[in-house]
C-alpha cells in the first residue's frame, strides 16, 4: 500500500524543513528505518528515516525546497502501484529552483494539505479500505483515541510521528501497536566523518540535579527584580585576570604532545567547572517555584556559526581532563558549524561561556541563556602594564565579565565565585591539588 512521506518534526521549535539532500532517488528501494533524506531545520541538519517499506516512487519536494510540517514530500509504494491519488492530494511542488532576485520576497508556502485532501474524495484503497492520512492533516490538531494516547505515552512514542488510520486521521490502538512492533530504526551512521578515531564522550545526557524550594525572600527578590529589568534581571561583575601562568601551562602541555592542542578557552572551561563545583549556588537556575542546583558543571560554549550562534554543552566538565575537554569542544564546534548538532547537545547547560577574545574584544557583557543562572563573557588576553610590588611590570591580562541572574545569584555570591575562578586561573596548579 502506498504511503505518504510527510515533513516530520525534527526539533521542538521546527515549523518547516528544507530538503538538504535526498539520500534516495525515485525508483530506489527503501526499507523502514533507512535514512531517506537530510533535512535542514531551524537548528540543525537532521536525517529523516523512512517509515515504510517499498520503493521511493515520487519525490514531491526537491532539494533546496522547503515544506511545512506534515506536508507530503514523497510517496513510497510498490513498484507498479497506482499512486496518482496520493500524488494529486499533495500540493504541487513549486517549479525547480527558479533563480530569484535578491529583493524578491520568498515564495508563499504551498497551501495546506488539508484543503487538497478534503477536495479530492478519492475512492478508498488499502487493506481496510481506509486511506491513511496524517493525523494532523485537517486542523493541525492531533486526533487520537484516548486509549491510543495513553498507549503512546506509556511506550514513549511521539504521536506526531504517526499517521492515524481512523476516521479523519484519528490515531487509534492499531496504529500504536504497529508503531510498537516496528523494529527500532538502526542508529543512523555518523553523518560526520571524524578525522580522529571516534571518542566515547561520557554522559551525553544532562547531569542529575536536586530541586530546592525557593524561599519566600528569594521569590520576592525574583519578583521585584523582574519588574525592574526584563524577565531575567541581569547584573554584571567584571574582574581582571593575570593569565601568565595559565598561558605558560598551556604552552607546557602542548609541548608535551602537540596533538593535544589545548587552548586558553579549554583551560577557562576547566577552571569554570572547578569553580562551579566549589560554588554550587552559582551552578543553579531559577525555576519559578524552586531553584535547581546541578550536580555537575555542564558548561555551554558559545560557538559562532553562519547567521547565528549555538551553544554546545560540555557535560560534566568538572569530571573531564583538559585533553578530553579540548577534544570534545573541537568536535562539538566543528559539528556546530556544519549544523549537525543534536538538540540534546546544545541544550541544558548549567552555565555558559562566551569568548570574543579572538576578535580583539577587551571586555563585553553577555546575555544569559535562560534558564541558566549565569554566563561568563571572556575578552582578549593581551600584555598590559600593571603594578606589582610597587613596580610596573608587563603581564598577560584578560578581563572577564559575568552576567548573573539576580533571581538566583546575588552580588556577593557571584563575586565569591569569580574570586575562586580568578584564583585558580591565575594559579592553575590549583586544578591538580
Amino acid at each position: 500500500m502506498a504511503t505518504k512521506v510527510i515533513m516530520p518534526k525534527l526539533s521542538p521549535t521546527m515549523e518547516e524543513g528544507q530538503i538538504s539532500r535526498w539520500l534516495k532517488k525515485e525508483g530506489d528501494k527503501v526499507s523502514m528505518g533507512e535514512p531517506l533524506a537530510e533535512i535542514d531545520t531551524d537548528k540543525a541538519t537532521m536525517e529523516m528515516q523512512a517509515l515504510a517499506n517499498g520503493v521511493l516512487r515520487k519525490i514531491l519536494i526537491n532539494e533546496g525546497q522547503s515544506a511545512p510540517l506534515g506536508q507530503t514530500i514523497a510517496v513510497i509504494g510498490e513498484p507498479n502501484e497506482d499512486i496518482a491519488a496520493l500524488v494529486s492530494e499533495a500540493p504541487a511542488a513549486p517549479a525547480k529552483e527558479e533563480p530569484k532576485k535578491l529583493e524578491e520576497p520568498a515564495a508563499p508556502p504551498p497551501p495546506p494539505q488539508a484543503k487538497a485532501a478534503a477536495a479530492s474524495a478519492q475512492p478508498a484503497s488499502g487493506v481496510d479500505g481506509r486511506q491513511p492520512q496524517a493525523a494532523t492533516a485537517d486542523s493541525g490538531r492531533l486526533i487520537v483515541s484516548p486509549l491510543a494516547a495513553r498507549m503512546a505515552a506509556e511506550a514513549g512514542i511521539d504521536l506526531r510521528s504517526l499517521q492515524g488510520s481512523g476516521p479523519g486521521g484519528r490515531i487509534i490502538k492499531k496504529d500504536i501497536e504497529a508503531a510498537i512492533s516496528q523494529p527500532k530504526a538502526a542508529p543512523a551512521p555518523a553523518a560526520f566523518p571524524r578525522a580522529v578515531e571516534p571518542r566515547q564522550f561520557p554522559q551525553a545526557a544532562a547531569s542529575g540535579y536536586r530541586d530546592e524550594p525557593a524561599t519566600e525572600i528569594r521569590k520576592v527578590i525574583a519578583k521585584r527584580l523582574v519588574t525592574s529589568l526584563g524577565p531575567v534581571p541581569h547584573f554584571f561583575l567584571t574582574t581582571e585576570i593575570e593569565m601568565d601562568r595559565a598561558a605558560e601551562m598551556r604552552k607546557g602541555i602542548n609541548a608535551l604532545d602537540p596533538d593535544l592542542k589545548i587552548s586558553i578557552n579549554d583551560i577557562i572551561i576547566k577552571v569554570v567547572a572547578a569553580a562551579l563545583i566549589q560554588h554550587p549556588e552559582v551552578n543553579a537556575s531559577f525555576q519559578e517555584k524552586f531553584i535547581r542546583y546541578y550536580e555537575h558543571a555542564d558548561v555551554g560554549v558559545a560557538v559562532a556559526i553562519q547567521d547565528g550562534l549555538i551553544t554546545p554543552v560540555v557535560r560534566s566538565a568538572d569530571q573531564k581532563s583538559l585533553s578530553e575537554i579540548a577534544a570534545e569542544v573541537r568536535e562539538l564546534a566543528e559539528r556546530a558549524r556544519s549544523r549537525k548538532l543534536k538538540p540534546e547537545e546544545y541544550t541544558g547547560a548549567s552555565f555558559s561561556i562566551s569568548n570574543l577574545g579572538m576578535f580583539g574584544i577587551d571586555e563585553f557583557t553577555a546575555v544569559i541563556n535562560p534558564p541558566e543562572g549565569a554566563i561568563l563573557a571572556v575578552g582578549a588576553m593581551s600584555p598590559k602594564p600593571v603594578v606589582r610590588d610597587n613596580e610596573i611590570v608587563i603581564r598577560q591580562i584578560m578581563r572577564v565579565t559575568m552576567s548573573c541572574d539576580h533571581r538566583v545569584i546575588d552580588g556577593a555570591t557571584g563575586a565569591r565565585f569569580l574570586q575562586t575562578f580568578k584564583k585558580i586561573l591565575e594559579n592553575p596548579l590549583y586544578l591538580v591539588v
Binding site: 479500505g129 481506509r130 483515541s145 484516548p146 494516547a149 487509534i172 490502538k173
Partner: protein, 327 residues
C-alpha cells in the same frame, strides 16, 4: 434442567414463591380468571385461590396504591401491569409512595413489592402501547429495575425480586414470552439483583444489551465472528442497581463499545451507560461509545415502519464495524 419458555419460567417463579411464602399475593387486570393477558399467571388462581390471586378493576393507580399499603403492613404483593404502558397511570403510587416510603418514614416502612409486566414494543400495537419505560423508573432512587432476557434469568430474577425488601420494577418483553431456554429445576434457584451476565465472551468489541436486544446482539455477534470480529455481549439484567463494574471490565479488555437498546435514545439507559463508561474507562476507549437505539419517534403502527424503528441485527453489526474501524 428443563427447556421452557420465558412465559413458563415466570409462571414457575410466581408459583414457587406463592407456595414458599404465604405473604406473597398477585394482583392485576385479568390475572386470575383469565390466567393473565399473556398467560403468565396461568393456573395460579386454581392452585392458590382468590385470596392470593386477585383480579382488579381497570384502575392502575388504585390497585398500585393498594399494593403499596399491603406491603407496608407486611405482605409481599406482585402487581401485574397488563403492559408497562398502563403503569404510566400508576406512577404517583410507584414514584411518590413506593420509592420514597423507606426514606420518608425514617426507615420504618420498607416496601417489598414487585410491579411486573411486559414493556417495550409488541406486534403492531402502535405508539401508546410500545413504550420502553425503564429509564423513567431507573431514574428514581428507591426503585430497583430488572429486565431479564432469558428464561433462566426471568425465573431467577423474578424470585429474587419477590424476596427483595424494596420495590422492584420487573419489565418483561411481550415479543420474548415464547423464547425458550434452559432453566434449573431447583426451587431455590435465584439470581441476585445487580449482577450483570456476560452472555458471550469476546475480545474486540463489547455490546451492552438488555432485554429484547440481547438475542439480537448475540445474532449480530455470530455474524461478526464470520467477519473475524470477536464480540463480547454483556447483559446488565438489572438496570438499577447497575453492575457497571462488569461492563467496565469488558471495556478495558475490548476498548470499544456498542450499547444496544430498544428504547428511544434521549435520556435513555444507554446514555447513562455510555456516560459511565466515559467517566470510568476514558483512557481505555479506542473509539467513541456507539449507541444503537430505537427511533426517536412515537412507535409507528405500519409494520414496515415499526421494523425500521426497532434496532435489528444489521444495525448492531454496522455499529460494531464502525467502532472497530472496519468501515
Amino acid at each position: 434442567m428443563s427447556t421452557i419458555t420465558i412465559r413458563e419460567a415466570l409462571n414457575q417463579a410466581l408459583r414457587e414463591e406463592l407456595a414458599r411464602d404465604e405473604t406473597v399475593f398477585l394482583m392485576g387486570e385479568e390475572v386470575a380468571e383469565y390466567d393473565g393477558a399473556y398467560k403468565v399467571t396461568k393456573g395460579l388462581l386454581k392452585e392458590f385461590g382468590g385470596k392470593r390471586v386477585i383480579d382488579t378493576p381497570i384502575t392502575e393507580l388504585g390497585f398500585s396504591g393498594l399494593g403499596v399499603g399491603a406491603a407496608m403492613v407486611g405482605l409481599r404483593p406482585v402487581v401485574e401491569f397488563m403492559t408497562f404502558n398502563f403503569s404510566i397511570l400508576a406512577t404517583d403510587q410507584i414514584i411518590n409512595s413506593a420509592a420514597k416510603m423507606l426514606y420518608m418514614s425514617g426507615g420504618q416502612f420498607n416496601i417489598p413489592i414487585v410491579f411486573r409486566g411486559p414493556g417495550g414494543s409488541a406486534f403492531q400495537v402502535s405508539s401508546q402501547h410500545s413504550q420502553a419505560l425503564e429509564s423513567w423508573y431507573a431514574y428514581f432512587p428507591g426503585l430497583k429495575v430488572v429486565m431479564p432476557s432469558t428464561a433462566a434469568d426471568a425465573k431467577g430474577l423474578l424470585k429474587s425480586s419477590i424476596r427483595d425488601d424494596d420495590p422492584v420494577i420487573f419489565i418483561e418483553q411481550e415479543r420474548m414470552y415464547g423464547n425458550k431456554g434452559e432453566v434449573p429445576d431447583d426451587p431455590d434457584f435465584t439470581i441476585p439483583l445487580g449482577v450483570a451476565d456476560v452472555k458471550r465472551e469476546g475480545t474486540d468489541v463489547t455490546i451492552v444489551a438488555r432485554s429484547l436486544m440481547v438475542p439480537v446482539a448475540l445474532k449480530a455477534a455470530e455474524m461478526l465472528e464470520q467477519q473475524k470480529v470477536s464480540c463480547e455481549v454483556v447483559d446488565p439484567r438489572t438496570i438499577r442497581p447497575l453492575d457497571i463494574d462488569t461492563i467496565i471490565e469488558s471495556v478495558k479488555k475490548t476498548n470499544r463499545v456498542v450499547v444496544a437498546e430498544e428504547s428511544h435514545p434521549v435520556c435513555s439507559v444507554g446514555a447513562e451507560i455510555a456516560t459511565q463508561i466515559m467517566e470510568r474507562a476514558f483512557d481505555y476507549l479506542d473509539a467513541p461509545v456507539k449507541r444503537v437505539s430505537g427511533a426517536d419517534v412515537p412507535m409507528p403502527y405500519a409494520k414496515n415502519l415499526e421494523q425500521l424503528a426497532i434496532p435489528d441485527v444489521n444495525r448492531i453489526v454496522a455499529a460494531v464495524r464502525e467502532v472497530a474501524y472496519l468501515d
